[in-house]
């Protein structure tokens, strides 16, 4: 087989044309006859007992079909980790924006007006907004009786306002402190970041006359949605059909149910299709944004720059409900040492309830916060030891055969090569230092998610191939990559392959699109399914060609005998033969549970996730200029190097990296969901500032390929690391430029200016 013809070649997206031409159907595009529109009533208080709800006035409004409050909905608590979330807040509201009631009406405006007419009597409770305060004695308890909650994930450590805690330790930290020549301590804090997808959450649900639920939703994980719905609706999963629409951006914010259950319940109640589409301000006050985090780091080093020991404490503010918080805290714990050899360490990472909205997954969860802290801290140590930040890192880099904090034996460690490569493209060693300009460096090591993927490859009657999967392509280009992989395996031009992302009825199971897992794990599933199909084809062809199956090969859409090439049959002929005379319709299938080395659980406590099957690596150099009078930071150049294991589609790889860097740039410089008490003060895209196209600096990208043993052709994901890098790289560059270290994001002009002023005052 002519290997490597398709893998590694730039390939245009399979979904590009339909998106560019406007015929892709997104969540908000779904319309149905007789469809009702839904709205929810949000709690106006961050922490309040709900004394009485009166819907009478609202129900009288013409056009209102039904109103559900906590007493009208299933009395179940759901949750991805901790089952702590009621369908609608009943006894008390735990954040401002929490749904208390849902209305279905003939028009969206009517539903909205009705929601406003619902009279609720509240009794305000003392709120807590700061995760550090929430841990203190006498802090209001956000979930009374939390001990009684069931957990979806085993082994969670929970108490008080803590809903998850990961503890990792290794070596002997006490001995480490004694052996250290110098000790550095820092405190970092990071803001809440909104995903900023263009397409809002939009869901349409209906029940058919057999009582089967069908639901259209813009989601990254159809099967996860189905499972949560099954639990809430009390339906067996085979009576629920979740149809993923095209997704206009997910970034982790569409992995869990948001309003799917509301639509389903209202549809069941009214017998009509019900649609709910969130506004930007609802998304920004109700759905899962990136956790804000406070991180304490303490590191002991030798004078020569060898790291000896580190103590880390991470506090993830997870808001009113746990969401993925316990898992995000675990990812933070796993990332906080960075790709550096650390003989002794003690890591404590907590997910803490506060009276804010529920934070959950966003691209690079846990790692983005930990990455900023770890890499800023590393930079500070290098400076104070008078070492070049690059040399300091190289001195401490891990390599193959080292053990991770979690006790995994590291393989295919790509950071060394990536670092060399970024130093080369940025000309690090010869970098010019001019006034008020500076250079910053940053590395990352992150984890990807494995779990289960399955694929179905069908040979049609005409010999064409059809790949059916349940992994949503939310814009990151997975369907394109999977077409390439199938094309490679079947030796067929990739544009002749059709990829269908099916729904939960038609597609085989997949865990979901997140954690850099689709190319990695579904890629393997596609390879397996192709191989399964080939076995069937070869066995059919063996009979028709009267050659032993082991002798057969698939080349250029022909199956032929290796020893006797004129004995050949085309896929078309073979398909016809199979369908009508021999064996039936050929159909390759596979299911792959990603292999992984278990964590060393004697060192790791409370981590709710299965161990990662592979790590990801990247590093970045940034050049900035700083206006000393205004504090304005301009990012002049970004050089970024990413280890892809094996690049499958260079176009898609670069797209992912560019997009991720812009998201990281926004996080570094502008983006922050601002809270005043429990209230979001900027829930719109004018006041919440994401980068514009004009804010994109020059970005140079290099890709290295350190083949990952478990990945398809050695590939690993590249989606998350780009977001982990810019914040620390820019903060480090600012320090290089003007000598101030800022430990709090975003790096706004105001923060920079006042840091400069403080620095000047201290010098005096």
């Amino acid at each position: 087989m002519a290997k490597n013809e398709i893998i590694g070649r730039p390939f245009a997206r399979v979904d590009g044309r339909r998106k560019a031409c406007g015929d892709a159907v997104y969540g908000p595009d779904i319309k149905m006859p007789g469809m009702l529109h839904a709205k929810f009533l949000a709690s106006p208080y961050p922490h309040a007992r709900i004394v009485h709800v009166d819907t009478e006035k609202a129900e009288k409004l013409s056009g209102v079909k039904t109103i559900l409050t906590a007493k009208d909905v299933p009395q179940v608590c759901w949750g991805l980790m901790v089952k702590d979330t009621p369908v609608l807040a009943g006894d008390k509201a735990r954040f401002m924006g929490e749904p208390l009631a849902v209305v279905a009406a003939t028009k969206r405006e009517i539903a909205e007006e009705a929601a406003e007419l619902i009279q609720v009597e509240y009794e305000e409770l003392k709120p807590v907004f700061d995760p550090e305060e929430a841990l203190g004695p006498g802090a209001p308890l956000i979930h009374e009786g939390a001990e009684a909650y069931a957990c979806a994930m085993p082994g969670l450590i929970r108490y008080g306002n803590v809903c998850g805690q990961t503890k990792i330790s290794g070596g002997d930290p006490e001995q480490g402190w004694r052996e250290s020549d110098l000790i550095f301590e820092d405190r970092f804090s990071t803001p809440v970041q909104h995903h900023g997808f263009i397409e809002p959450h939009a869901v349409t649900a209906r029940f058919d006359s057999n009582g089967r639920l069908e639901i259209w939703t813009s989601t990254q994980a159809i099967f996860a949605i189905r499972m949560a719905l099954g639990e809430i609706m009390g339906l067996p999963l085979n009576r629920i059909r979740v149809i993923g629409t095209e997704v206009g951006g997910g970034f982790g914010g569409k992995t869990d149910i948001t309003v799917e259950h509301f639509c389903a319940l209202l549809a069941r109640m009214t017998g009509k299709p019900v649609k709910m589409q969130l506004t930007r301000s609802e998304m920004m006050t109700y759905t899962s944004a990136r956790h804000g985090c406070v991180i304490h780091l303490k590191t002991g080093v030798k004078k020569d720059g060898k790291i000896v020991t580190r103590e880390a404490r991470l506090l993830f503010d997870t808001g009113g409900y746990a969401g993925h918080g316990p898992g995000v805290a675990a990812l933070g714990a796993n990332t906080i040492l960075g790709p550096y050899r650390t003989p002794h360490f003690k890591i404590d990472s907590l997910s803490v309830y506060t009276n804010k909205m529920n934070f959950s997954f966003m691209r690079g969860p846990g790692g983005v916060q930990a990455g900023f802290a770890c890499e800023s801290h590393m930079d500070r140590i290098a400076r104070e030891l008078n070492l070049d930040p690059l040399d300091f890192r190289i001195k401490n880099l891990i390599s193959d055969g080292d053990t991770s904090a979690t006790g995994q034996r590291m393989e295919a460690v790509g950071i060394q090569e990536a670092l060399n490569s970024v130093a080369k493209i940025s000309n690090w060693k010869q970098r010019k230092k001019s006034k008020n300009r500076g250079w910053g460096l940053c590395c990352c090591q992150y984890e990807l998610v494995g779990m289960t993927s399955s694929a179905l490859v069908k040979l049609s009657e005409d010999g064409s191939l059809h790949l059916v999967i349940g992994a949503i392509d939310h814009g990151q280009g997975s369907s394109t990559v999977l077409a390439q992989i199938l094309a490679q395996e079947m030796d067929i031009p990739a544009d002749q392959i059709a990829v269908t992302v099916g729904d939960t009825d038609t597609a085989p199971y997949d865990t979901g699109t997140f954690g850099d897992r689709v190319t990695f794990n579904m890629g393997n599933a596609v390879i397996e399914a192709a191989r399964d199909l080939k076995v069937q084809l070869f066995s059919g062809a063996a009979a028709m060609l009267e050659s032993p199956a082991e002798n057969l090969e698939l080349v250029g859409q022909m199956i032929r005998d290796r020893d006797n090439p004129e004995k050949a049959i085309s896929l078309l002929e073979l398909a016809m033969g199979s369908y009508f005379f021999q064996g039936g319709a050929p159909m390759g299938k596979s299911t792959v549970l990603a292999p992984f080395q278990a964590y060393a659980y004697e060192k790791v406590e409370g981590n709710p996730y299965p161990a990662t099957p592979a790590h990801t690596y990247a590093c970045q150099v940034v050049e900035v200029s700083v206006d000393r009078d205004t504090g304005m930071v301009r990012v002049e150049n970004i050089y970024s190097c990413h280890d892809a294991g094996r690049m499958i589609n260079p176009l898609g790889t670069e797209g992912q990296i560019q997009g991720g860097i812009m998201m990281g740039l926004g996080y570094a410089l502008w983006e922050e969901v601002v809270f005043d008490g429990g209230r979001v003060t900027n829930p719109n895209l004018i006041d919440y500032k994401m980068p514009f196209a004009i804010n994109q600096p020059k970005i140079r990208i290099a890709v290295t390929e350190t083949k990952t043993p478990n990945g398809p052709y050695g590939a690993r994901g590249v989606g998350n690391p780009p977001v982990l890098l810019p914040a620390a790289a820019i903060a480090n560059a600012i320090h290089d430029a003007v000598g101030v270290r800022i430990r709090e994001l975003p790096l706004t002009p105001e923060r920079v200016l006042f840091s400069l002023k403080r620095e000047a005052a201290n010098k005096k």
Partner: protein, 288 residues
């Protein structure tokens, strides 16, 4: 929005007649860039929407002997690209380049921007620096008012409910007169954290400053003139020293309010920096 009526006016008279009849129950709709979001949120609930976007009489840019006259319906984009503006009042084209995005500039109008009276608006400080006048028309007649007197409070102007803003009348720059607008915003084209419109006229023989206006936006409920800073410069040769002093004075005389773009303390710092920058640029004769 169910109780709201909508009419599309064809002429200024039709607009003023409607306003006379409905008074403050009616709201004028121009480019809709500021009003429509408020309507959608039902924060504004007018009984009648008078769409003036087709009133041809309000769309023009004309040069007279001493002034440029600009119709209130002129869009930001027209102002940015018009050859007459570029030739005679390049400050306005420069200002527009820093205002929102092209999409918004294509629709938003000068009149709408002024009447919306966002305290962080860019148009007002620039026009104030130029000494522009506004022509307001009602069914009973017309009156003119300087831009400086037009703004009353956050989003409040001196316009009466029965009036429409028809025209902006801007004196042409005298020889040796320079006007510039500079702005600071976090992403380059954002709502201003601070905006400064500056006009300086120097004496031909002595090089002293004959006339000066320093107009600062986004630091209070309305754009403010930094009069004490002006006094430092007026009648003197502009030097590094006077510029520094003017910056200090401006910082003392203005007490900014915090908003989401920046805290009062930060704005205070910026007032000094931007007054200095504005003076430097305007007095060096550069128009930008």
């Amino acid at each position: 929005m169910k109780d709201m009526r909508y009419i599309r006016a064809a002429s200024v008279t039709e607009v003023t007649d409607c306003l006379k009849k409905y008074g403050d129950k009616a709201k004028i709709l121009a480019g809709g860039q500021s009003l429509v979001p408020l309507l959608r949120q039902r924060l504004a609930r007018p009984g009648l929407l008078i769409d003036i976007s087709r009133v041809a009489d309000l769309k023009f840019i004309r040069k007279t002997k001493n002034t440029l006259k600009i119709g209130a319906l002129t869009t930001h984009r027209q102002l940015e690209t018009d050859p007459l503006i570029r030739e005679h009042l390049p400050i306005l084209a420069d200002m527009e380049k820093q205002l929102a995005s092209v999409q918004i500039r294509n629709l938003g109008t000068l009149g709408g921007n002024l009447c919306h009276a966002d305290p962080a608006g860019d148009v007002a400080p620039a026009l104030m620096a130029l000494g522009a006048k506004l022509k307001l028309i009602s069914a009973t007649g017309a009156r003119t008012m300087s831009v400086e007197n037009f703004f009353k409070d956050f989003f409040e102007t001196a316009i009466r409910p029965d009036e429409v803003l028809a025209e902006i009348d801007i004196p042409l720059l005298p020889d040796l007169g320079h006007a510039i607008y500079i702005k600071h915003s976090s992403r380059g084209v954002d709502t201003a954290i601070i905006g400064v419109g500056t006009f300086i006229l120097k004496d031909h023989d002595t090089d002293t400053c004959k006339e000066i206006r320093l107009c600062v936006g986004a630091v209070g409920p309305v754009p403010i003139r930094a009069k004490n800073a002006e006094a430092v410069i007026r009648g003197k040769v502009v030097t590094g020293k006077t510029i520094a002093e003017a910056g200090k004075k401006a910082r003392e005389e203005i007490s900014p309010v915090s908003d989401l773009q920046g805290s009062a303390e930060y704005k205070k710092e910026l007032i000094e920096v931007f007054i200095q920058r504005a003076l430097k640029a305007a007095s060096s004769g550069r128009r930008k």
